[in-house]
Symmetry: C2
Subunit: 329 residues, 2 copies
DNA sequence: CTGAAAGCGCTTACAG
DNA sequence: CTGAAAGCGCTTACAG
């Protein structure tokens, strides 16, 4: 690879002046500038990012910590983050943590040793102290981390309220909530929203925990439907869970939406590929990723920040798993 | 951050001997070693990866170039790659190229300036010259790039043959193939396999191009079903395309699998979430990603390589969109 | 306006 | 067995 020395030699100047024209910083005569620029062209010189990083202690990279890219909620998020990062000249390092503290810590060290400029945290359930101790710019995405760091979430509780009210309006009398893991803030908030509506309306209900895996959701729902044949509505904490519930309903010969109405949560693309297509609470996934990235970059570049708390609105999308939903979109 | 100098001072030795114990290279006395190790502990010292990279010209990072992580074929691939990379101590940089040469080139430069050790190429349709010119370790994944670089693909043609024969066996008399973009090798090979079977069996057929977007696939299929009411089988070039076809069938009141049988390609998880669940040709996606990563690392570490061509087998998974398919898996 | 020098944090010949 | 020195490829005070 050609280095700044080669360019200097070719342009018959010192490396200092090459550096000056590279960074457009400090005075440099027209002649010198031209000589350097032509040398750069001729030699097809690209400055070495690593050397720059070593000096500046800033790498232009951000770490993305998510539980698992193959969980269908995350690809769109990752895409948004990568797009937003690219736009600002940053590059993203993908880290799948499986929500394991050990993996998180491993990545955190690896990232820090590489001078990443910041990290987006969409993972981790309990202690975040190891992040805060780092004094590395961090933003929380889809998870509340600390009020000392910018956080982007969607309005989980309001979304859950809308979903549950929708089921009530559609005539459900006995509603199940398949809630996500306890201790996971979004799951807890959705649960809260559900409970609030069902209690103020005095609707019979039953709440069961299921993780975000389709198999578990299917099994749990099957058991539930067999035990409680009068269940006529299900609000799930994710779209994947809803898909599991739909499979169980199919197995148990329950017709959707006639016998059983279902509302999911997330708004990932496959909800609309299902038949019947899934009524769901749509999170603005792309915007969440984009916003989180912009905030992180603001933090990195030490720009001012209006607010640390960014709660984006959700939207109820009625499709065919609740009554009166037209065709597919 | 604490540096090697701090450690040296604390241990009362030179930085050279600190470096020696860090790298377990060269002679160092027991006493010195212990002093250094304890200093490292006390100071919680982590060697700076950037400085090492500058010296060694190797960063422990690999670039992953894919068209779009939000296309459901890629998350599992990315996960496999990240897992395999992690196991060998590498870190992965995510690059979404949208199959645009400009973006590819941008990333390639960015990656090279950061001394990435190699790249996995699962993108790009035409010229790959800019890669080869780089003399950077590269492996091709899901795309043939050049016979000079290791390549991992699945057996697209055989998979397509199995799919088409399955439709023929199940009694289809007029089969449509929704093929992927021309010029994209996997799509071309699947098309070849389809054609071969349909021609040797003398089965009526019609071939239409659709990209891998669900909306296009749905629209195309709808038109097709209206124009040719006797179509009774569809083989699609991807599972997403199949989902589109299924939606169109639903709209056109065609019952699957009674009136119309469908076989997809890819074996991504959502195929099994659909109702009816999708019969498809499963690619060993995880293994493909894993293998590609292992090959890349072999290349990087200059180990010997048995073969440059790795074609992994596909498997036909019969589910409910063809006759006689049991329940869901 | 320009160059020599020191420094970012490490590694590795080279002497001793 | 150990340290001083040069070097990886840049950047930026500091003199001039």
């Amino acid at each position: 690879m050609t280095t700044i020395k080669d360019v200097a030699k070719h342009a018959k100047v010192s490396v200092a002046t090459v550096s000056r024209v590279l960074n457009q910083k400090g005075y440099v005569s027209k002649e010198a500038k031209q000589a350097v620029e032509s040398a750069i062209k001729v030699l097809n010189y690209k400055p070495n990012a690593v050397a720059r990083t070593l000096y500046h202690k800033t790498s232009g990279m951000i770490g993305l910590m998510i539980p698992d890219i193959s969980n269908p909620f995350f690809p769109e998020l990752a895409r948004a983050i990568e797009d937003a990062a690219l736009k600002e000249g940053y590059t993203v390092v993908l880290c799948n943590t499986d929500d394991q503290v050990k993996k998180e810590q491993h990545y955190l060290h690896a990232l820090q040793q590489k001078y990443v400029d910041g990290v987006i945290l969409a993972t981790g359930t309990d202690s975040y102290d190891h992040y805060l101790a780092l004094n590395l710019p961090v933003v929380g995405l889809d998870r509340f981390v600390s009020n000392k760091i910018p956080t982007v979430v969607s309005d989980n509780k309001k979304g859950a309220i809308a979903a549950t009210e929708h089921l009530v309006e559609k005539g459900c009398q006995f509603i199940t909530h398949l809630r996500g893991p306890k201790g996971l803030a979004p799951a807890d908030e959705r649960y809260q929203g559900f409970k609030e509506v069902v209690e103020t309306h005095g609707v019979a209900h039953i709440i069961v925990e299921a993780d975000f895996q389709i198999e578990r959701a299917e099994a749990v729902t099957r058991g539930l439907l067999q035990k409680h044949p009068t269940i006529d509505g299900i609000f799930t904490s994710s779209d994947v869970t809803a898909a599991g519930a739909m499979k169980a309903a199919h197995t148990c010969k329950r017709v959707i939406p006639d016998d059983l109405q279902i509302v999911g949560f997330d708004g990932i693309p496959f909800g609309n590929m299902l038949v019947p297509s899934l009524t769901t609470v749509q999170q603005p996934i792309y915007e969440m990723g984009e916003r989180a990235t912009q905030l992180l970059i603001q933090l990195i570049e030490k720009k001012t920040m209006d607010s640390y708390w960014h709660e984006l609105p959700t939207t109820l999308i009625q499709r065919q798993t609740t009554r009166g939903g037209g065709g597919h979109e």
